[in-house]
Symmetry: C2
Subunit: 405 residues, 2 copies
Amino acid sequence: MSHPLDLPIAHEIIAADAVLLGGEAVSINEALKRVAKSFLSAKVPQPGYDQSGRDGYAIAADGDAVETGRRFQVIGEEAPAGSIKKIILSEGTACRIMTGGMVPQGGVRVVPQEDCMVEGGKVTVPAHALQRKNTFIQKKGEQIAEGDLLAEAGTVLQPEHLALLAATGHTKIEVYRKPRVGFFCSGSELVGSPEQLVPGLKISTNRYLLGGLIPQFLAEGEDLGIVSDTSEKLGLMFDQLKSASFDVVISTGGMGPGKYDLLEEAFYLAGGKVLFRSLNMRPGRSALFGRLGDTLVFGLPGPPGAVRTLMNEMVGPALLRLQGMKNCGPVAMQARLEQRVDMKNNDVLHLKAGILSFAGGFACVRLAGRLEIATCFILFPPGRSVYQPSSEVEVHLAYSPFASA
Amino acid sequence: MSHPLDLPIAHEIIAADAVLLGGEAVSINEALKRVAKSFLSAKVPQPGYDQSGRDGYAIAADGDAVETGRRFQVIGEEAPAGSIKKIILSEGTACRIMTGGMVPQGGVRVVPQEDCMVEGGKVTVPAHALQRKNTFIQKKGEQIAEGDLLAEAGTVLQPEHLALLAATGHTKIEVYRKPRVGFFCSGSELVGSPEQLVPGLKISTNRYLLGGLIPQFLAEGEDLGIVSDTSEKLGLMFDQLKSASFDVVISTGGMGPGKYDLLEEAFYLAGGKVLFRSLNMRPGRSALFGRLGDTLVFGLPGPPGAVRTLMNEMVGPALLRLQGMKNCGPVAMQARLEQRVDMKNNDVLHLKAGILSFAGGFACVRLAGRLEIATCFILFPPGRSVYQPSSEVEVHLAYSPFASA
């Protein structure tokens, strides 16, 4: 299929071939930034018992009327939170209780200690404290009832989820397996280190870009190295990949129309099935997607800017999709351009690296400078050649925790 | 110092004691999400030589005039990118060149192949192609000149930085050491697993919360376990910490005014120096900061919501500050409230968990539901009791790559 595809169609084609990965049960600690495979709900309620909301005295019903309120006989030892000695409060009695402590059977109210007057084994509680609406007792399940939803399937689990899951009786969590991603950079001009540099050769930079980006999409990357632009070397790589166990392979380079851009041919000759090889956008005119056995293969062009953009728009979402993440595409929002932009080539959708900022609650965006790290990508749809300052544009966030820092 | 402090003052006190950690040189791959210790600039230019921007022919000056343009004698073998064979183009000659290939000495222009007519070892170039402003030669250093700034000291290095650093001749990067953070949860009611649960006891959830949050602030956490609310056990923990090598220790619980809230006393008796123990905000009324030898100690209250908020507002920024990160506080922005909020207690600044969204370029925020994961914290300054829908409020982003997903 060599006709350029619109990105949404490309996503559909990828989705049709992206079989959900299997699951595995991991401990709560290991579940951080993993995607939940099933609906997760509370196994036990929180709190697990009626608990005190204050340090003070738990009191039973009634008590002796005295001038300043009501007086209760204090029973039991002072018990810190965590003491699980059983006390039963019968009428007219009270016991000391701490925040988070279990309210004994028979307790109807906790009176904060600042309201209590204690003398000779008795506690006197003023009338106003007895009439208060708040009993300072948190009922069992008041925070989380048994069965309450904690996370839908497809949720990326955050630290707060782990705390909720632990609190409600979970020990092992069923999550999707992480995609195993092999990547290589093709180009006879590429070398691995500055020592090998002579004029005409370049350091392979995409391996660092991919090595850093793949974990952002919660996958495990393996650098397969640099491959020369020859049919033999590329063919050998694809042959080796057939017996490897990668869920996804990403390549960069070798995708142009040039005589030495041999990637597609080598992929095809190795038994790969090309599902598309061109997107209706820039960058992306040269971007291959196919299958090699059960492995999904993305052939990206060589320029790092194109690799970065296509990772955000196409490959990254596919990696998240394999793990069952809902809404796996980049986060989209509207923003106002801070500058004029002229699009000389407005034949297809263009994505340009942008810097997003928020002033007074408005999203504003400008083109990223030459050496600035994009915090978003700005969409310039086909057919429009001039964007005045303050034009409204759509942006896609770059996946990065420090994007807006 | 028991007088409650405003958060900015607390930050100043922390900053005065937060001695920058030392540095270490790491490989480019290991530098991901580390903080640069020095100004990083390009050691070699990019491209490192004059390179072709197209597949086509590099031509020397002049050439034989023919009816359809000018004709050049093709010399040299076809050379893929990466071929470093030396060719010199003398007047009237041309050679084949690929995108990214080095323009030979004497080359004045690259003519894209679609403009070239090749016949019998000669290439004919039409006049219009010779008059084009764009020579399709990218000059050495055109993308990145030697000495160009790639990252200021204090920058968190992203995948794009790694690619730029690799491209410009770096192999080892000087970064700040990661803070080593020990954390423990205090509470006699806490147990480690659901099997140990009986009424009156609770699973320790803060250990999961802290274990998940600490890496978000680029630090290494070590779970030191659960400590009972007794002077002996807390004292023993602090004594052990004196000879441990943690940069930071975080505790939760034991910070209330209750009889069994013994953390501050135990810290003091172990030789700890309390620098403050109360913030002028909720949560944060009970929040201790001090030093134990060279270790910074944060004593947080027990409720997980308070732990989450104070990690975002106080402890996390301190962890980033130790690593030399500039602007280490949470990202602040204005947003519009989507609901009415009544503040019954408006005596101090309140921070409440919020959910941020963007509609039509506006930041909107609502209070997070009971079991929702906050994507931000909403600031409600003291003295105001009613916030109508659409009120403008300040929010602090929660550090999370998926915050707005």
